[in-house]
């Protein structure tokens, strides 16, 4: 279970970083759609 969660965390972190770097400028900030984080 530990190994499973570790792999999932690394994969998710890599996907998140890739998504942030490659996302379009319009999608980068839309603070008015949601008042809080």
């Amino acid at each position: 279970m530990k190994k499973f969660f570790q792999i999932l965390t690394i994969v998710l972190a890599l996907v998140a970083v890739t998504q942030v770097i490659t996302s379009s400028p319009e999608a980068k900030a839309d603070p008015h759609s949601e008042p809080g984080i």
Binding site: T9, L12, A16, P31, I37
Partner: protein, 183 residues
């Protein structure tokens, strides 16, 4: 069967079950936040909460634990702190930096929680000292990860600095209590 056995084996740990339910509720909030804000780092927070849900169900019995008190409530409040931060008032040009800092912090925290595994608990208790994985780098990698990730929230909205100071104080307090129990 082994899966069910590992849960039932520790059914004498009611605080583990309660903690597990609380962390599962946190994971639902994290999914909701992820969907409504679009910030992908909430996916990591969801994973943290689901891993915590599992490890609280299957954790080792405590060797030494402080009596249930307001400290437990503070510990859970501190765990929920990432949900309290305010969003940006104006479009931020630091989107990439904010996200990368927050992702880095939550990755460290989640890896620390997973490394603790069956020794994990929200309130301070001794279920065996862990010195492997990210715990080789620092004594409290989970709190360090949260502090790093929450810097991203401060960059997003400077008002969040007050929440960051409060949150940081709570992490220091929890670290101090843990040191006391583990020594």
């Amino acid at each position: 069967m082994k899966l069910i056995g590992s849960i039932n084996h520790y059914r004498a740990d009611p605080s583990g079950w309660i903690g597990s339910i609380v962390m599962f509720l946190f994971s639902i909030i994290a999914i909701w936040k992820w969907q409504t804000t679009g910030f992908i780092f909430f996916a990591l927070l969801t994973l943290r909460d689901l891993a915590a849900t599992w490890f609280l169900l299957t954790r080792n019995p405590s060797l030494k634990k402080s009596k249930p008190s307001w400290k437990d409530i503070l510990a859970y409040l501190s765990s929920a702190f990432p949900f309290f931060y305010l969003g940006a008032d104006t479009p931020t040009n630091m989107y990439v930096m904010v996200n990368l800092i927050t992702i880095a912090g939550f990755t460290l925290s989640t890896l620390a929680l997973i490394e603790l595994g069956q020794s994990f608990g929200v309130s301070p208790s001794n279920r065996g000292v862990v010195r492997s994985g990210v715990y080789r780098l620092t004594k409290h990698p989970m709190y360090l990860g949260y502090a790093i990730s929450e810097i991203g929230f401060v960059l997003l909205n400077p008002i969040n600095i007050f929440l960051w100071i409060t949150s940081g104080t709570l992490y220091c307090f929890r670290a101090k209590l843990e040191n006391k129990v583990l020594d």
